[in-house]
Symmetry: C3
Subunit: 268 residues, 3 copies
């Protein structure tokens, strides 16, 4: 798609120029890595979760990232408070329902956030996304037991029901708002050997939402960029430790032009 | 010991094949690194500490890792809840009493967890392990002020008293269940310049406990594997930053055969 | 300045010899990286924030680091409790007012800590330091919107008012206790692409405070050392991921002699 690869080029250029502030309420495991990823790609991250500061902090932000890994209930309250304020101010929100489907706390929290705030995009693996529709769907810890293909049809229905854009990531990523369906096939097998690559895909979507009003194109171009960074890292590293460092480097070194050539985005 | 090096080969093969889910309730400093270490070696980590989800989460797990670094009392409650559920379901528990002996909160929490749950293995440095027996024993922050040799005799007695397996790590590691005593001499001096290498040894034990029913052999082979990863990393890096990345790489690249050749396990 | 470069040489030698314990109550984003930085440079870090253990832990420490990133009110209580105990025992305290000026929680917490404990050094970017004097001064998330030069005059006045040493870091760092003014121009542009380099500068100051009684010279020599580590890393890496690893390596490999030659400290 010429249109979408041009959009990818433009989005990455604008991101680097504007350096939007991305407010994250996220899990303890990935805070450092996702902050570094946002800095490397050209955004400005802030992590803040105190209930008595999230509304003030989010009001400066270009996007809000909510991530339910290592969740407790007080954090859900802060997420909803920040999410409501963001919705009120027209600031886009992206939700990462980490482990939804594994425990009721996670499934219920993901659903509550979806109901009470105006979420632009939800990104998860197939099991996490399916669990938002069907309480019977299970997740193994934070790993998917379903394929992207299995989840595709449900995703279209669920996107319509929720009025949001869904991104299911895996070997091929699927993005849908219920009518449009886009597939992104950038990526590298070592990504699943680094903790928080899913969460890092989510913050990349957050950064692109801050500079692209269309959640579908923002998400597709963000995932192509992040997947391409995985490919570039995979050319330079063959084991997970060095791969995760090369991935940060690639988020910094990939130019908009390189993204235009390398992105693999296909609209159905 | 032919027997123990064969066991090491077999354990690493089974780990990579089964990819057991390891549930961690651990400290903020090492969450990212230990999750990455578990992924690199072939396990599947999940971090979850909310009191209202730990019982559900641990029930899917192959092992539970409890680590008291950066502790507060609500986390101890979650650890005990998860530990009791694990004990009930026959899921092995490994405890890392980080900083036990440095403050009463840590010493008392480590003892409480030991008393109220069925811990298969406790891994710590010499001071931490000694503090579980003797309230007068001191730890400097999270660093040992005793040698493994000083702690050996006490460890045998304490293992018997607690009915558990103890692993004291240092230049040479000592593993005992009160009757058997095994020494592992794999490792590298740069390991003490990377934060959380002790905690990472503990999660490696957790991963091996998930696939080997005998806590003594699981622990000895896990520590040999982890120490060998340190040796491989030390051949490729000479300073702590690159060493910690090479260590993750080595956990991924070391084959069972390489472990069989390189492990240094000696039964007394 | 011969005097200050000699002091730098001596401070780094003493640090490596004494390995002081540095107690950190800090944010979730940087806990791992700052612990690794302290280990690499030759100190011994401990992270502990529970209200019922901080007084006991800080009493063993050579210095206390307080950092208000990812703050909640219970953490402020622990910081003040630890800070008071440290003041009582004559243990130096360094404060990093991360994001002060961005939200009232952060500005008020920074001020409260400053008022209720005896802080030896406060390190922040220009906006964070200005916010401590002027409630109207704003910070963009955790990024400065003011230059070091803009903040210099205010810093001298504020240092006098607070009776503390202030360090404003940026392309050139400014250190003042209200009468002396020192500039340090070591550093590298990639430092701002790695999360927590400011926080890591702060823990380096903490380590030097543990072995140098004069807060002004401790801070100046610490910032020269940390900036030089950035320069060494910048010779070996050209993107943020590998840069952050090389930076840890440099904190370990730079000798006191190399620091004496490379430090760029100028007293006005």
């Amino acid at each position: 798609m010429g249109g979408l690869s041009d959009r990818a080029v433009r989005n990455l250029s604008i991101l680097r120029e504007k350096r939007p502030l991305i407010h994250n309420i996220t899990n303890f495991v990935v805070m450092n890595y996702t902050a570094n990823a946002l800095l490397a790609m050209g955004a400005s991250p802030v992590m803040a979760h105190a209930e008595n500061e999230v509304e003030e902090m989010v009001s400066f932000a270009g996007a809000l990232v909510l991530n339910i890994g290592t969740l407790t209930e007080d954090w859900v309250d802060s997420m909803i408070k920040a999410g409501k304020k963001a919705s009120e101010l027209g600031i886009p929100v992206v939700l990462d329902p980490v482990g939804s489907g594994a425990t009721s706390l996670r499934t219920n929290s993901a659903k509550k956030i979806t109901e009470e705030t105006d979420v632009s995009v939800i990104r998860g693996n197939a099991s996490e996304i399916l669990s938002l529709r069907n309480a019977q769907s299970k997740t193994k810890g934070v790993d998917s037991i379903h394929t992207v293909e299995e989840a595709a049809e449900s995703a279209k229905i669920l996107a319509n029901e929720l009025g949001t854009t869904l991104a299911i990531t895996g070997p091929t990523d699927l993005i849908t708002d219920g009518s449009r369906v886009i597939e992104v096939s950038n990526g590298h097998p070592l990504m699943r050997y680094v903790t928080g690559t899913g969460c890092t895909a989510t913050v990349t979507i957050g950064a692109f939402l801050a500079i692209d009003d269309d959640p579908v194109t923002a998400t597709a171009t963000a995932l192509a960029f992040f997947g391409l960074a995985g490919e570039v890292a995979g050319e330079r590293a063959s084991a997970p430790g060095s791969f995760m460092i090369e991935l940060l480097d690639a988020l910094y070194t990939i130019t908009p032009e390189r993204l235009g050539i390398g992105c693999k985005i296909r609209e159905d």
